[in-house]
Symmetry: C2
Amino acid sequence: MQTIEEILKIKKVNNTAIRTVVLRHLLSQEKAQSLKDIENVLVHTDRSSIFRTLKTFEKNKVIHSIEDGSGMLKYAVCAKGCNCDPKDLHYHFYCNNCNKTFCLFDIPVQNIELPDNFKIQQANMVVKGLCNNCNK
Amino acid sequence: MQTIEEILKIKKVNNTAIRTVVLRHLLSQEKAQSLKDIENVLVHTDRSSIFRTLKTFEKNKVIHSIEDGSGMLKYAVCAKGCNCDPKDLHYHFYCNNCNKTFCLFDIPVQNIELPDNFKIQQANMVVKGLCNNCNK
DNA sequence: CTTTTGGCGCAACTCGATTGCAAAGATTAT
DNA sequence: ATAATCTTTGCAATCGAGTTGCGCCAAAAG
Ligand SMILES: [Mn+2]
Ligand SMILES: [Mn+2]
Ligand SMILES: [Zn+2]
Ligand SMILES: [Zn+2]
């Protein structure tokens, strides 16, 4: 497991107090976090600072964002070695009951046969339903 | 091909002038339409009326919505027989260059092997990249 | 010490989505 | 035909996530 300092160094993001605590929080959560989620934890930190931290992280591929249809972008830490390329593509699961969103890193994604001359660059794949906790 | 009247009848949506013209517009477009797209066409119809028309259509499975990351929800007419169930799942393609979003009805989606006890109900699958027109 | 650069907090703003309400239209009951 | 009822529409207001301008401050460079 890499430390927060190592991750930021590898991704060429300057380390600051806010960045450390935001990344630590994201790493501690199994579910992807929205800006509001993080605001609710870092109550003394300004929203725009958290926002810019997330954008910096995303630009430098420390994290990636997920549009799960909740109306709020969610953010999750990239897997080690991830470069946000098509090869790093993975599904996400959004639970309609508990509203948890998370990466399904372990489920292989089929090679998608696009029509002739189409080129994939990224993807946003969200499966919605009931998670194991809510599917009783 | 079904007529607009037939579609609305099958989906149990009362026919009105606005609903007819909105559905006709959606059917005439190959790319999924945003509320704003439709506003720009139906310049004499109020936004909220179009909005509610779309919500009514979506609830009754005349259309489905797609979150393509552009910040605006897109809407596309469901295929004949579609019930917006997992079996009706299909990919969408968003062109990063021309910003066109559309359904890839012809590309099969593999059965996604979710973790134990997870249940799929819907999905939002968007592949992003360059369409055949823009991939030069 | 002085200058430069990057990060932060605050406040304001944008814009897509959504809603309350009353008028208009359509349908059904009397 | 008229009254009561339900549905649809238009208008204006509001919500809220996301975003930005700007000045301050602290660390790094000169
Ligand atoms: Mn992910
Ligand atoms: Mn579709
Ligand atoms: Zn759940
Ligand atoms: Zn294109």
